[in-house]
């Protein structure tokens, strides 16, 4: 300490202090500066893709090919984009148990959202495609529900029914019910057109329109929906109503008739 103190008047002391100060500032900057993050992200991005590739090779490659080029059992994934992966894997449709079914059903997803993101990053790296939408894109904030209803009836109801209860397609295929499907997945389905569904890219159906449709579905076909008339009987229209009228309506009335007929005034026996 004495040595240091003795040299504090050295002509180069100021230079040394300056250097030390610069080094400290620079070090702190290097440790906390956003510039450093960019570099770190790139490595983590490539790490994500690597992880995704590993998952891909185990879970997907047997049908979609080792490089996503597709095979007789599954289509090419080049250019389908992250949105398609997020939809297919996030709704449990992928991985499919067989490609021989009329249609691959939704089931409980087997990957975590983190793993799905890794898979999506890998598939997106194979070729450019639609990205996973942001929360802002599919939230019902600022959406026009009535406009969404009109768009839904024009574009979607042919297969999915008036309020998205689902419907039959040819040869065992079907348009699934949209009840309580996550808004993100509805958005991605419109964007990518999974299985038999046509795709509605932003050029034919704008972001705003998609948002409207999602808000409409949330209003008429979710656990938040209110049915002012009571039990909705599946929302399937006259078939379930007719069945109900026969079984519970006429059934109850016949039961009442049997009851009334059995309760007769007995003639007095003399």
């Amino acid at each position: 300490m004495k040595k240091l103190s003795a040299r504090r008047r050295h002509p180069l002391a100021a230079v040394v202090v300056l250097l030390l100060a610069l080094a400290a500032t620079g070090g702190l900057y290097a440790a906390f500066a956003p510039a450093g993050k960019a570099q770190a992200d790139e490595t983590s991005q490539s790490l994500t893709i690597k992880e995704g590739q590993k998952l891909y090779e185990v879970g997907c490659a047997s049908c979609h090919g080792t490089g996503g080029q597709g095979s007789s059992d599954g289509p090419s994934l080049v250019g389908v984009g992250a949105a398609a992966v997020d939809f297919q894997v996030g709704t449990g449709r992928m991985p499919a148990s067989s490609s021989q079914m009329a249609q691959i059903p939704a089931k409980k997803p087997i990957y975590t959202q983190a793993q799905i993101d890794q898979l999506a990053a890998y598939v997106a790296s194979l070729g450019a495609g639609p990205n996973v939408p942001t929360k802002e894109q599919y939230s019902k904030e600022g959406a026009d529900i009535a406009k969404g209803g009109e768009l839904f009836r024009t574009n979607c109801a042919q297969c999915h029914n008036f309020t998205g209860k689902g419907g039959a397609l040819t040869k065992g295929k079907y348009a699934p019910s949209l009840e309580d499907v996550a808004p993100k997945h509805i958005y991605e389905a419109m964007q990518t057109g999974p299985q038999n569904m046509p795709s509605f890219p932003d050029t034919t159906m704008t972001e705003k329109n998609k948002k409207d449709i999602i808000a409409y579905l949330n209003a008429v076909n979710s656990s938040e929906t209110e049915n002012p008339g009571g039990l909705e009987l599946g929302g399937l229209g006259p078939v379930s109503e007719g069945l109900f009228a026969w079984i519970f309506g006429l059934g109850a009335l016949i039961a009442v008739a049997v009851w009334v007929a059995a309760r007769t005034a007995k003639a007095k026996k003399s």
Binding site: A102, I145, A146, K147, G148, G149, E150, R153, T154, A157, Q158, C159, H160, N161, F162, T163, K165, G166, G167, A168, T170, K171, G172, Y174, A175, Y216, A219, V220, N227, P228, G229, G230, L231, E232, L233, G235, L236, G237, P238, V239, S240, E241, G242, L243, F244, A245, W246, F248, G249, L250, A252, L253, I254, V256, A257, V260, A261, A262, T264, A265
Partner: protein
Amino acid sequence: MSTEANEAPRSRGKAPAGERVADWADGRLGIYSLAKANMRKVFPDHWSFMLGEVCLYSFLIIILTGVYLTLFFHPSMNEVEYHGSYVPLQGQLMSEAFNSTLHISFDVRGGLLIRQIHHWAALIFLAGMFVHMMRVFFTGAFRKPREVNWLFGFLLFVLGMFTGFTGYSLPDDLLSGTGVRFTEGAILSMPIVGTYISFFLFGGQFPGHDFVARFYSIHILLLPGIMLGLVVAHLILVFYHKHTQFAGPGKKETNVVGMPLLPVYMAKAGGFFFLVFGVIAVIAAITQINPIWAMGPYRPDQVSTGAQPDWYMGFAEGLVRYMPGWEVNFWGHTLVLGVFIPLVLFGVVLMAIAVYPFIESWVTGDKREHHILDRPRNAPTRTAFGVAWVTVYMIGLVGGGNDLWATHFHLSINQVTWFVRIFFFAGPVIAFIATKRICLGLQRRDKEKVLHGRETGIIKRLPHGEFIEVHEPLSQEQLHTLTAHHQYEPAEIGPTVDENGVERKVKPTERLRVKLSNAYYGKDNQIPKPTVDEYKEITSGHGHH
């Protein structure tokens, strides 16, 4: 002493008010003799005789609730923008008809409940008429003298279908609009007249601006007016013919065994009306029907999957759904067989059940009146025909809902359609044969019971070790009930050569009649009921069972 004093002036003075009112009315309306004749009218007791009452009461409920709905409904197709209380339709363009139906559903006090009672009652009315008609059919209650009343009932059912259809179309929602479009297609498929009828009905191109107003007049005035008249005629004939009854001790073709209209049936029927109203009101209060707000306003460029009509038009929908889409081009005109053939079949299927009573009476040649009902098993061919008809009808309903069968039972809609196509032909044949076998089996069982008594389930061991089941002879009442029915003899062509050796020409209709008669009543088509001799021989003590 005091009572005498009180009564004496009354008999000389004015009669009590009630009596005076009754006297006044009787002097002008003649109700005394009318009431005297009808108050003691006897009705037999059976739950299935009350099905017609279900129809009558639901019809009254429909009229009552319908009147309330007309107070708020605007039968107009003028376009308006929606600004009511249902958020998901705010600002949408729609017809005034749709707008006012939304208004009834959300903003009129009790409007939605009344709408739902109206619609549920309509479905139950039609279902009730169907079951009532089947009761009349399977018990042979349509036989002389009731053929005309059968036709009245049939007409009520058909008019009910069309009244229901026009009412279902009034709100101008996307579902019913699709149904009206379907109807337009069916009308257009008629050769030559189709386009003219369509233009006349819609006042030009579909949908035009007229159809809601026109359907409104038809729905609230024309058809219900005719139906009301038919209901009255139907009831007058029921009164005039007196009610039928099942065979039983003391019940004859010339009497009716039951309870008098007043007070027993008045109380029962009055109470039953409120029970029917109550059941329908409870259903309407807890169960949603035809949520037009969820379907949205009709626009010809929109359509939804699962677009079906109410159940009573379902079999017509089915006929079109499973008919192959055939089309013929004929001298520059298109004949859409894929729609026209179902349209014809629709009429044929309905007419088949309507004319059946006349066919049966022609085959039997029976000119007597029948007031004792048949048990379905004792008329195997009729019962089999009825079940075959119901099968065709039900197959149509399955076909009309083919998409829902596919989605809810995880089937292919193509497979469902093919199943329906095959069973449209095979179903009635199988149903006919199976029903006839079952009926004959039941007839054999009845014969067995009459001759050998009821199986008691008690096993008795005889001294020499044989086990027998103890049969308990039936009571006289039961024996009568099981053997009261009349059995026809199959018709024969008779001698083709008369006593002078002149050959008689046998008409083809006569041959057909004899053939049918044998199919109805020939050997193996009915089990001869036990004769008195058979019964006596078996019960006279020879043998023990």
